[in-house]
Symmetry: C2
């Protein structure tokens, strides 16, 4: 779907860079923290590398830019120095609000978590809570993904893919009860369950236009105590049919159905 690709012109000073060593990014807008745009951007910053080596921009070229949780606009490369890029910006309007969807998911293996962070952010949810679950693998909570800023980079990449500046609220390591307690009052509540759900998740199950929460266990699903807690907290157990889906695919599918019920707003 529509990446921002334009005519490729190889910049003489950069054509010998080894592309396979570049960070892998899929972005349609380059996002900055507000303080960052006051200063030159290091040539070693992944965004500078992306501008020069993937988008092949040169001095005077423009690009789609955004301020995190702020407006979108256009950036211009004013100068390409040996160590820094000097950029200027013209800011426009902020993107539409995020969808009123809250996702709770059992902490999965780190590679799965990366995919969920990026793709569920791209879909535009308001909040994403990775929770400890009874049947989950406890060591996943200690992954370098969560100990470093890597999880946040996945979220920013997802927003940039979606041409959005807004980031969801993300938490990790809380209990299921703690994550449920964070949900706003009046939120429709569904939990995916392969074992005890009697009905399929269908947008028609949900009141139109209302905030909604979806909870997914990770690989091994929910414990009996967690099912009791979900039911007592107003969650309806639903399924996605008899086929066994990867956790990341089930997340995309469930959020898709909630987005459809909100008519993709």
């Amino acid at each position: 779907m529509a990446a921002c690709r334009r005519k490729i012109t190889v910049h003489p000073s950069t054509k010998h860079v080894t592309v396979s060593l570049l960070p892998k990014v899929h972005v349609n807008i380059i996002l900055f923290q507000p303080p960052e745009v006051e200063h030159p951007l290091a040539r070693s910053d992944p965004r500078a590398v992306h501008l020069l080596e993937v988008l092949r921009r040169r001095t005077g070229d423009t690009f789609d830019a955004g301020l995190l949780n702020g407006p979108r606009g256009r950036g211009t490369i004013e100068e390409i120095g040996a160590d820094f890029l000097r950029l200027s910006f013209v800011w426009g309007e902020s993107p539409p609000s995020l969808s009123l969807i809250h996702v709770i998911v059992g902490l999965p293996r780190p590679q799965t978590a990366r995919d969920i962070l990026r793709e569920v952010t791209a879909l535009g949810v308001t909040a994403l809570h990775f929770v400890r679950t009874d049947k989950g693998e406890a060591s996943y909570a200690g992954s370098s993904l969560w100990k470093s800023t890597e999880w946040r980079e996945c979220v920013i990449n997802g927003a940039a893919q979606a041409f959005c500046t807004r980031l969801p609220e993300v938490t990790h390591g809380d209990t299921l009860a703690e994550a449920i307690a964070r949900l706003p009052a009046g939120t429709s509540r569904l939990a995916l369950d392969n074992y005890e759900a009697a009905t399929a998740l269908n947008p028609g199950n949900l009141p139109a236009g209302k905030p909604a929460a979806i909870a997914l266990g990770a690989e091994r699903g929910w414990s009996a105590a967690e099912r009791d807690l979900l039911r007592a907290s107003g969650f309806t157990l639903v399924h996605l049919g008899p086929r066994v889906l990867r956790t990341e695919t089930a997340c995309i599918a469930a959020v898709t159905l909630l987005k459809a019920r909100l008519n993709w707003t």
Copy 2:
């Protein structure tokens, strides 16, 4: 979501295998071609490696097995030899039919195609056609993914993930017109389009329970001529909101909405 994981017992003869060198498989059932089950399975076969090193099965242990496009059942490891495993099988019933969903997608970069082959198969569609498009990158059609049997391995892995034996019909390299001509009469037809679609894809747009086709352009979308062809062939252009999704995520989202309209059958 629910992988078949059981108590781990390390087999003495295998505990020194370097796990990082093993092929990466995510399967919930081990699938075989019908003629294969008449013969011993080579220890070097990825399925043998998966049985011994991931599932940690020993002589006398059983596992979920299936015959491609045939029944599911239980396999038993009768003997673990130096070069071969001797297996026996008891077959049961065939899994439910695939969903009456046909997917047409512009040939994407090979890594994206791998994800689509696996995840769209896991979701259980009847047919998946990768087509040449006007704005597509022509070289993708010549990838080793398509020249070798790798594309078929992705499909089998998707079925195995979903605990299913049935494989979709897959074609690659036809034109959009040729793929449209393959669709059964009476199929509801939708095409994703970020630029000219007036309405969002919503299960409510579709007649319930009827076969449906969804067409997606790859990264750069459809040409004007392709939009004309789609409209002339009975396709309605629809979108998934203003956010830009990766092709593989858009595929999962679109198939999810068609599956919901078929009530996940």
